[in-house]
C-alpha cells in the first residue's frame, strides 16, 4: 500500500454540491463539500454513484481537478456526453444544494508527489487531473519548471482557459479560434519536442486514442517508458 491510499476501506459518503459553474461550453465543474474529508494527491479520482428511484445504480470515475491545498471541498469537472448515462445528469440536472454519493481518493499511480520538472499533456477532459497538478504545483512549488500541452476540439471545449497560463501549448483538432495561424490538426512530434524536458515525468491524460498517440510520441522523443504516466478516460 502507498501513502496515497488511506488505510482500510474507501467508504461511500454523501457529498453536498456547494457550487457549480460552466467550465467550457460542454463541461461543468461541481464543488463538493465532503462531510468526512480526506486528503488526496493531485491526479487521484473519485467514484460517483447515482441511484434511481427504483434502486438501480450507476457508477463512474471522475478525476479531482482542485488542489489538495483547498481543504474542505473538492472540485470535479464533467464533460457532457450527449448520449451518456451519467454525465448529462451531473452537467444538466444536478443543482447546488443537491447531494451525490462518492468515494475516494482512488489511485496511487497517476499522482504527483512533487516531482520536477513536470510535463503535462492533456486531451479534452484529460485536463482535469493535470489541472490539479498545475494548481497544486503553483501553490506548493511555484519555482518548479512545468509545461503543458492541451489538445481540444474547439476553443469552446477548452477547460480552465483563464488559468492554463500564456505558455500552454494549445492544439485544436476541429477548429481554432478566429485568426488562429494553423489549420486543425492532431498532436505532432514537434509539439512534444518544443515542450519536453531532459528529465522528470510526463503526465498524459485523455481519451484512449489521444493517450496512446502522446505516449508513443514521448517515447520517440526519448522519454523513458517509466517516466510516462498515463490515465486513459475511455473511447474516442
Amino acid at each position: 500500500m502507498t501513502d496515497a491510499t488511506p488505510p482500510g476501506a474507501i467508504t461511500w459518503q454523501v457529498a453536498d454540491v456547494v457550487a457549480a459553474w460552466a467550465e467550457s461550453s460542454t463541461a461543468r465543474t461541481l464543488r463538493l463539500h465532503l462531510p468526512e474529508p480526506w486528503t488526496y494527491l493531485p491526479g487521484q479520482h473519485v467514484d460517483v454513484r447515482l441511484t434511481a428511484p427504483d434502486g438501480y445504480q450507476a457508477q463512474r470515475s471522475y478525476s479531482i481537478g482542485s488542489s489538495p491545498a483547498d481543504e474542505g471541498s473538492i472540485e470535479l469537472t464533467i464533460q457532457r456526453l450527449a448520449d451518456g448515462e451519467v454525465s448529462p445528469y451531473l452537467c444538466d440536472v444536478l443543482e447546488v444544494g443537491d447531494q451525490i454519493e462518492l468515494r475516494g481518493p482512488i489511485g496511487g499511480y497517476f499522482v504527483w508527489r512533487g516531482e520536477r520538472p513536470v510535463l503535462l499533456v492533456g486531451g479534452g477532459s484529460g485536463l482535469v487531473p493535470l489541472m490539479s497538478i498545475l494548481r497544486h504545483l503553483r501553490r506548493t512549488a511555484p519555482d518548479a519548471p512545468v509545461r503543458m500541452i492541451a489538445s481540444v476540439r474547439t476553443p469552446g471545449d477548452l477547460l480552465y482557459s483563464g488559468e492554463l497560463g500564456d505558455d500552454a501549448r494549445l492544439i485544436y483538432t476541429r477548429a481554432g479560434p478566429p485568426g488562429w495561424a494553423e489549420p486543425p490538426r492532431r498532436l505532432r512530434p514537434e509539439d512534444i519536442a518544443a515542450a519536453a524536458f531532459d528529465e522528470g515525468p510526463a503526465y498524459v491524460c485523455g481519451p484512449t486514442g489521444f493517450v496512446d498517440r502522446a505516449a508513443d510520441l514521448l517515447l520517440a522523443a526519448g522519454y523513458p517508458a517509466d517516466q510516462i504516466l498515463t490515465e486513459r478516460f475511455g473511447p474516442t
Binding site: I10, Y56, E85, I106
Partner: protein, 212 residues
Amino acid sequence: MTPRLRSRHELRLPRILRQATPARGHGGPPPPGQYYESGFPTLTVGPTPKVETAAWNLRVDGLVEHAIEWDWNAFKALPRSTFEGDIHCVTKWSKLGTSFSGVSVDELLALAQPKPEAKYVLATSVGGYTTNLPLADLVDGKAWIADTHEDQPLPREHGGPARLLVPHLYFWKSAKWIAQLRLLAEDEWGFWERNGYHHRGDPWQEQRYTGD
C-alpha cells in the same frame, strides 16, 4: 440515506440489456457498479509495449518442481482451449459474450508441477507490470494464456501476442504481454494492488479497492 436522483433524469438501462439476449454470456445484469460496453476499451500503465513473437517467452517458475520456459513455437504446440463469456474492468465497463482462446494455465502447471507450499502467483509482463493472484484462482479451468480474441490474433493494445486471462476477476488481473508466472508461498502485491486496488478483485463482490 442514499440520495435519489431528481426525477427529471432517467438512468437508462444499459443498451445491451435492451437488445436481444446475446448469443454468449449469461445475459443477466452486470456485477454491481458495472455497465455493459459494446466496444473493448483499453487500460494500460504507460505506453503500449511492442512485443514480437520472436522475442516472446513465457516462464513458469518459483515454487515448482520444474521451472519451464516456452518460446512462441513451443507455446503454440501446447493443447489449446477456448473461453466464452463476460469480462469486467474495474473502470466500470463489462463486456458480454467475449471469446478468447489459448492455453489453459492448468496445462502449464501440469508440466511445471507446483510444490505443495505454493499458494500465490505473481504474474509479470514485458515492461515490468505485475499483478498477484491466489493460485486457486488460476486452476481448474478458470485461467488461460490467451493469444487469440474473437478468432483473430490478440491485438497489441489488448496484450498481444499473449496475455493472462482470468475472466472471473477484474481485468487488471489479466496481465497483458505476459512473460512470467512465479509461484509463491506468501502473497506479494503487484502494481495496482500496491496502488490502492484490491488484492483479489472479485467483481461480484465489488472488490475494487484496498479494503473493499
